[in-house]
């Protein structure tokens, strides 16, 4: 079974982002970029499926500017067999990503698509569900455990009340949650090997997908700042403040 893993290049999770002064967006020039952490978990899960003999080939896919090649090289260093970049300079929103991935799925015919449940830049949490819908496939979002057996997968999902386990028919789209696995470290020999692995570049036009954005961002602002309060010296003082000043107890 082929497995497609979708990976996104995002501002590194440790970076505190700055809103641009003109309100047009967030400063991304000269900012450290990395693979979306949830997509790293998706890559790791694909590797485990391959090591278990379930996956035969792992294809990493990314959509974005030429720099997304770096993210795909990281995926190849983790262990993807080959990579596809859908190169575009325009803003690609989740519906367009889902449509592009649908076109890739038509080409590659995977049994499973794995991706992060959300990207930590736009925090949309949509693409996996949208892809499953467009393909008419089953979906298992927020996965914390994945077991493939035959023509179905058993997936434990993190939900608001705890955990639930569902069975989904394959092919399926799985989106990863934090506790699915702990991604491996990429080793230097694997980084070297990744440089020689195939990386193909496509375009939305070649895939016949209209990627025009549906949402227009009118402005981006800083959230209201929360100022630091005061340090209290004792539990007694804390209780007094909560009771008489904040009046919350």
């Amino acid at each position: 079974m082929k497995v497609v893993v979708a990976v996104k290049r995002v501002v590194d999770f440790n970076v505190k982002v700055r809103v641009k002064a003109d309100g047009s967006g967030v400063e991304t020039a000269n900012v450290k970029m990395s693979m979306n952490p949830f997509d790293e978990i998706a890559m790791e899960e694909a590797m485990r499926l391959k090591e278990a003999g379930v996956a035969t080939e792992i294809i990493a896919v990314s959509i974005g500017t030429a720099q997304s090649q770096e993210t795909l090289r990281t995926a190849l260093a983790i262990g993807a067999d080959r990579a596809l970049l859908v190169e575009t300079g325009v803003e690609i929103q989740p519906l367009a990503v889902a449509k592009l991935l649908k076109a890739i799925v038509a080409r590659e015919q995977p049994g499973l698509v794995i991706m992060g449940k959300q990207a930590i830049d736009d925090d949309s949490n949509q693409t996996g569900q949208m892809l499953a819908a467009l393909l008419g496939w089953s979906q298992a979002t927020f996965a914390s455990k994945l077991k493939v057996s035959g023509a179905a997968a058993e997936v434990t999902r993190e939900v608001d009340g705890g955990l639930e386990t569902i069975s989904v028919k394959l092919p399926a789209v799985v989106t990863t949650d934090l506790r699915l696995n702990e991604p491996r470290y990429v080793t230097l020999p694997n980084i070297m090997k990744a440089k020689k692995k195939p990386l193909e570049t496509l375009t939305p036009e070649a895939l016949g997908v209209d990627v025009a954005p549906r949402l227009k961002t009118l402005k981006v602002q800083e959230p209201p700042k929360r100022s630091a309060g005061k340090l209290v010296k004792s539990v007694q003082e804390l209780v007094e403040k909560l009771r008489n000043e904040a009046k919350v107890i």
């Binding site: 519906l95 949509q126 979906q139 939900v159 608001d160 399926a172 309060g229």
Partner: protein
């Protein structure tokens, strides 16, 4: 304009997040209908009909809606959505699971996690873990939206008398099925609707130590939450997690104990009214957002706090 709100419920009753979603629908303006899709869900339908300002409650009662599986429920919502200008659901794990499926099938964008309604087509939503707020405008014919509860004060739960109308079920999808649920049982309030929350982080050391937080929570009538570090370490179950990718909360009082305050955690609680931080590390970033900070050993300070309440 007509707005369809997807009810979050457990068949017997509605979940509090539905009230915040109705409040968001009222800000958009227009007739508001609620869809209650479930199995033996008359209780939930009755509760939804009691929310003031709701015109009609559509009830679709069938076994295949018992667990809100995305494939079956999504197809049902799509079949109804065409009569509406807006489809709203709470931004809960259930809402986030099904609504993008609906949007894709309608070939429209979804606007995730709105915290403010600027106009019927323009909304504010947080991006980058809430470190920026984007104002976005949708040009789609049907606006499909998930609503972050903390952005809207809950609509009243009683006083209304909407008509209840039964509607036909859509076809059952055989793509997925429920195997089982392990839901955390607790007598304490739910995290996302609690008036007060006591949260623990890595500093708690182990799961056993959360007992001292539970004792404090019980004194305050509070829910117990946790940081990602505490959940990843296995101290408490996943549904305790507050943060960018966990639960977003905004209680009257949030007490962060042994939590350093990573931006991903702050994203989930910084809209709380009063924040208290107890941490032995005076440099911890949590103190930069706390109204009241106490630099102390939590194993002494928390029991002392409990005893003084």
């Amino acid at each position: 304009m007509a707005i369809l709100v997807i009810a979050e419920h457990d068949n017997a009753a509605i979940k509090p997040a539905l009230l915040n979603t109705v409040a968001a629908a009222q800000k958009i303006g227009g007739d508001i209908d609620i869809l209650v899709a479930g199995h033996q869900c008359a209780g939930a339908a009755k509760a939804a009909a009691a929310i003031p300002g709701v015109k009609k409650v559509l009830v679709v009662d069938a076994p295949h809606y018992a667990h809100a599986l995305a494939e079956s429920l999504g197809a049902l919502i799509v079949s109804i959505a065409k009569n509406y200008s807006h489809v709203l659901a709470p931004s809960t794990s259930a809402g986030k699971n099904v609504l993008p499926r609906v949007a894709a099938l309608l070939d429209v964008a979804q606007i995730s996690d709105i915290i403010k309604v600027e106009s019927p087509d323009t909304f504010v939503r947080p991006i980058y873990a809430g470190n920026a707020l984007a104002t976005v405008q949708s040009g789609d014919a049907i606006k499909v939206i998930t609503v972050r509860s903390t952005g809207f004060d809950a609509a009243p739960a009683t006083g209304g008398s909407a008509t209840i109308e039964n509607a036909a079920a859509a076809e059952q999808s055989d793509l997925s099925s429920m195997i089982g649920q392990e839901l955390t049982k607790s007598a304490r309030p739910e995290l996302t609707s609690a008036r007060a929350i006591v949260s623990g982080g890595r500093g708690m050391g182990n799961g056993e130590n959360f007992k001292i937080l539970e004792a404090l929570a019980d004194k305050l009538g509070a829910a117990v939450g946790a940081s990602r570090a505490a959940v990843d370490s296995g101290f408490v179950p996943n549904d305790y997690q507050v943060g960018q990718t966990g639960k977003i909360v905004a209680p009257e009082l949030y007490i962060a104990v042994g939590i350093s305050g990573a931006i991903q955690h702050l994203a989930g609680m910084k809209d709380s009214k009063v924040i208290v931080a107890i941490n032995k590390d005076a440099e911890a970033p949590i103190f930069q957002v706390a109204d009241y900070g106490l630099v102390a050993d939590l194993f002494q300070a928390v029991p002392e706090l409990t005893s003084q309440l």
